[in-house]
């Protein structure tokens, strides 16, 4: 065993010993408690729903839905009737009037568990959640594994890094599937399936919408062609579509929101008169507001002069460009300060997670009554 390996072994052993010791002090550490909620749902009469949906006003449908939703959150045991005026149900494998029930588990602070235990030691409504507790410990492990990179690249960091890649790729793929492909593409091409399995409120697609989605599907398949060993050039067609749409969208949106809007916002009065509540002019505030506007307008013009390369930066243009550089340096300094602050805020959040949620050493939210 190398000297470095021995050092890490000793550090790891000390850390585990400290964790075990911490677990034996006070309320322990790193546990997640959940509260059970029983949900019972009664399926509506399909025939009645369909006839009601045909003639019912949409206002009453929304009122019924919101009523049943609020009922589901008001008590630990709830009975929810599916909305009587829900959108038309095309097919269901369950008979009308069937009752479905399941349990939902909401995370609660440890203080609630302690209070519930004091009131009734045999209660089972609030319990420790093993999956979430294991998740909490895994999250702590991942946090420490990534921070270990500050010392040197190591297997723990590489494991965490590999997980980030795998999980993130699948995460965004799933989000794209359920949020875009299912409602837009499958909703247009296989509306019956989507309506019965995912979205009963789906509005029947129009012919043009279906044609456009067939076009999208063809482009999508052509894009996936890139994965095959031959005919990779076919994927240039969907890429061309993406490039064209992006260019068309961005030209308009950037000119509208950046060029026009920003230029309009810079058209400010250089002499400002600020009045107080009594209607009298406040000289000091007026002076400062005027200076601010002059500095702002000057800054924008000088920065643009610096970006204007068609004229040599000499004389007046050169002077303006120089002032523009100063403004830009101040902007970069402010951006740097903000970036550092953002990262430090994230770091503080991770440290708080370790010390509060995991080790239970601090209790800023008074979740454990410390």
């Amino acid at each position: 065993m190398t000297r470095q390996a021995k050092t890490w072994l000793v550090i790891g052993a000390v850390f585990v010993a400290l964790l075990v010791a911490r677990g034996m002090i006070g309320q322990g550490l790193g546990r997640v408690y959940v509260k059970r909620t029983d949900v019972t749902v009664t399926l509506p009469d399909t025939a009645a729903v369909n006839s009601a949906a045909a003639g019912a006003a949409s206002a009453s449908a929304s009122a019924s839905t919101s009523a049943s939703t609020s009922a589901s959150t008001s008590a630990s045991t709830t009975a929810v009737s599916a909305p009587a005026t829900a959108p038309s149900i095309t097919s269901t494998s369950l008979a009308s009037g069937t009752t479905m029930s399941w349990q939902e588990w909401k995370q609660v602070p440890p203080l609630e568990f302690i209070a519930a235990q004091k009131a009734n030691p045999a209660q089972t409504e609030i319990t420790m959640s093993w999956p979430r507790t294991i998740g909490l410990w895994l999250a702590a492990f991942f946090t420490l594994a990534i921070f270990s990179f500050l010392y040197a690249d190591n297997p723990f960091y590489k494991i965490a890094e590999s997980l980030v890649v795998g999980v993130s790729a699948a995460y965004w793929g799933v989000i794209g599937f359920w949020d875009t492909l299912v409602p837009k593409m499958f909703g247009a091409l296989t509306p019956g399936l989507v309506k019965s399995l995912v979205q009963p409120s789906l509005v029947a697609p129009e012919m043009l919408q279906q044609i456009s989605m067939v076009f999208a599907l063809i482009l999508g398949v052509m894009m996936l062609w890139r994965l095959l060993p031959r005919g990779g050039w076919i994927s240039a067609w969907p890429l061309a579509f993406i490039v064209g749409v992006t260019a068309g969208l961005k030209i308009v949106s950037h000119v509208e929101s950046d060029l026009m809007a920003q230029a309009a916002a810079t058209m400010k009065p250089l002499v400002v008169s600020v009045t107080d509540a009594s209607g009298a002019t406040n000289m000091w505030d007026s002076w400062w507001a005027s200076v601010a506007n002059v500095l702002l307008v000057t800054g924008v013009i000088c920065c643009l002069a610096y970006f204007f390369f068609s004229v040599e930066h000499k004389g007046v243009v050169g002077g303006a460009a120089r002032v523009g550089i100063w403004y830009l340096m101040i902007t970069f300094g402010a951006s740097f300060g903000f970036t550092v602050m953002g990262r430090i805020a994230l770091l503080a959040a991770r440290v708080e997670f370790l010390f509060d949620d995991w080790l239970w050493l601090i209790d800023p939210n008074h979740f454990r009554g410390l």
């Binding site: 949900v39 997980l163 076009f215 030209i251 950037h254 550089i325």
Partner: protein
């Protein structure tokens, strides 16, 4: 043919999008193109996932150095995909109980939310938090107050950093009321509202002009570099 057709696809799609912003009659066509764009972009995720799987499977079959990490990547990818696509542990929406997949993926207590809360959040936020150390280290090594520009950058960064923390308030809190504008928290606001706004505004105007120029070059077929193989 391999270059002409894609170029015309880009031109037609781009002009259709632009027209839809100016001609009310073409609005629906623009929306249709936008929907197709969103779907193709979502399918691009499948391409990305496929490419990732292909690369790691090749690494695995060759037994390259560090192939064990490819197993972890592939394993976590497949498990997350399986849980997310099948909505494991997600109950139907109480308003539509007959639709088995009507429940939201974000439902508390589901396997998907477990992955998000205990894997994605700690992993990604710690990765970004790690940058705090590297940014500070790089700044310490690179920033030297050698000239006016560097001094302006450094001073502004300090004003913004201190002005937005309790330390800044403590440091200059004793300034009398008539000099309250010089307190770090007020200086920070002034820098952000005037100097930073001016600089950012000019940058945004420059970007907008650049985007418009590049977009028009693509839509008129002048810039074909995106097709690959040079500017021909």
């Amino acid at each position: 043919m391999k270059r002409i057709i894609p170029m015309w696809i880009a031109i037609i799609a781009g002009f259709a999008m632009m027209l839809s912003s100016f001609v009310p009659l073409a609005e629906s066509a623009g929306e249709m193109f936008a929907d197709v764009f969103n779907v193709v972009a979502a399918i691009a995720f499948v391409l990305g996932a496929g490419s990732l799987a292909k690369q790691h499977l090749e690494k695995l079959s060759r037994r390259d150095a560090g192939w064990g990490y490819s197993v972890i990547t592939l394993g976590s990818f497949l498990i997350t995909l399986f849980i997310g696509m099948l909505k494991i542990g997600i109950h139907p929406n109480p308003s539509f109980p007959q639709a088995a997949y009507s429940g939201s993926n974000d439902a508390e207590g589901s396997a998907w939310s477990w992955i998000y809360e205990y894997m994605i959040t700690p992993l990604t936020s710690t990765m970004f938090a790690l940058l705090a150390f590297f940014v500070a280290s790089a700044a310490f090594r690179a920033f030297r107050a050698k000239n006016t520009e560097a001094i302006l950058l450094l001073v502004t960064a300090f004003i913004v950093l201190l002005g937005r923390t309790f330390a800044g308030v403590v440091l200059t809190g004793w300034f009398p009321d008539w000099a309250s504008g010089l307190r770090l928290e007020n200086l920070s606001i002034y820098v952000m509202q005037v100097f930073n706004t001016a600089g950012n505004r000019a940058i945004m105007i420059g970007i907008a002009l650049g985007v418009a120029a590049t977009g028009l070059r693509i839509l008129f077929g002048i810039d074909r570099s995106w097709l690959g193989g040079g500017d021909a």
